[in-house]
Amino acid sequence: MAITYPTIRGERKRRTRYQNGWALAFLAPWLVGFLAFTAGPMLMSLYLAFTDYDLLSAPKWIGAGNFSRMFGADPLFLQSLKVTAIYVFVGTPLSLTFALAVAVVLNRGLRGLDFYRSAIYLPSLFGGSVAIAVLWRKVFNGDGLVNQMLALVGIHGPSWISEPHTALGTLIALEVWQFGAPMVIFLAGLRQIPREFYEAAQVDGASRWRQFWSITMPLLSPILFFNLTLQLIRSFQAFAPAFIISDGSGGPADSTLFYSLYLYQEGFVNFDMGYAAAMAWMLVLLAGAVVAVNFIFSRYWVHYGD
């Protein structure tokens, strides 16, 4: 603001008087929580990552032993990394593509928008729950819903969840089934794009396809970036569905051994807490690296309007 009236300035001066005492009182719960449940534990797990610790005897310092075990002597760790990578890098683009496609169709002022939106969002609300994982197990069972449907057209489907090469696919399907949440976010973004842009493009003779790539995508790119980041962080941490579908084993043949699931097994079944802590930090590094790469590349495709 260019003009500052004396009275307002006086007002502002009084307001910017620090209220440190009050702030401390209001923030006390958060501060205690941050120190006791976030910062403290993070430092502690950083320390434990370099130790051998089984909860009963004192932690024993083993240097980078846990990390060299991960990449040198633990095929299961590498397997969990592979499974998670496939899940993240196949599931995320698929669900975002669906989300965007349906959002674009829905954004045309169709009657029943609220109904479609709610119905498609509903699976996201239930998403990661055990009840849905149980249902999924039944749906993809040898004589479950999917194979009953396939039988109608004469195809004899496999037992999806007990075949090593299809089990992970069912979990990716479960992830894609929840595309409603990013779709709702896309819809909110699409509504913001001014109608005049499309009208102008139409006058210039641009096809719908062209309009999508030249108007919709650039203007929606910040929201696509937001969705992508959220989805990546979430997928890295997926746990319950894999646990339920494989009875906690990550089977068949370790084909659904998600990172989180393996971390759980090492830390809370084998009580190899040092290794679990090292895995947790490795997850932070890996997920952080993916998000960072995404962030760096965003400069080339995310357009923030001026």
Binding site: Q19, W22, A23, F26, L27, P29, W30, G33, F34, F37, T38, P41, M42, S45, V102, V105, R108, L110, D114, I120, Y121, L122, S124, F126, G127, S129, V130, A131, V134, L135, W136, K138, V139, G144, L145, Q148, G180, V184, I185, A188, G189, R191, Q192, P222, I223, F225, F226, L230, R234, Q237, A240, F243, S260, A276, A277, M279, A280, L283, V284, A287
Partner: protein
Amino acid sequence: MATERLAAIRDDADSRPAVRRWAPGRRLLAHFALIVVTLVMLYPLVWMVASSFKPTDEIFSQPGLIPRHLQPSNYAEGWRGVSTAFSIFIENSLLISLFAIVGNVISCSLAAFAFARLHFIGRRIAYATMLVTLMLPTHVTLVPQYILFNKLGWVNTFYPLFVPHFFAVDAFFVLLMVQFIRSLPRELDEAARLDGCNPWKTYRYIVFPLLRPALVTTIIFTFIWTYNDFFKQLIYLNDVELFTVPLGLRQFLDSTGDSSWGPMLAMSTVALLPPLVLFITFQRRIVDGVATSGLKG
């Protein structure tokens, strides 16, 4: 911040109808496509409810939705459970969720008021720190938290599942409330101050009551997250009497395997009822909550 952008987008959405319509023919096609998508999305859920009323052998011999032999006893059998009644699991889940909600409402609103309205040294750093915790995978604090709660003798109790919520660990809700408080006119605070309200009274009598929409969103999502959570409950609860709905379902699955589909699907249906009722009641607010802040189910 992307979320703030989204909040701004939503505010504009109603005042600026930027909608382009399809031509009539295409509109019909669009409806057709959407109906197919919606059916595919909802079919597994409908199938689950239908199957929960069928005898187990009919579930995998008859793909149709309507049961030939109605078998409501699936519900009775599931409800009795393997060793413990399902009602106990529901009670436990609701109890934990209730405490988590109370904790989040109090602690997150206090923190949000400080971030949005008070001037203090280190505000920027504290706020940025809080935002960073949003992005952290929970795994990195998991092991030490377990050790901590184990030392406190809290393993196999409900405490680890709700006590942290009294300390504003869900930064998402703090962020949500900060944005909401910032949208409230400052003149209200000023007026209160001139009338002799200290920050506590301003919070208690001005901001907190006005915060209601954000609090409702917080309550809904705290409930859904706590109710759906599996990892922490799996780690911390060992006794069957303390089991929650997800653990109860899992126990049922473990002990009956794939033999009793009927009761299993019946209890899965029951398990999804509380979030479903909540969704039907607060549809708008839930969808808006997702659109503005990226909260997921």
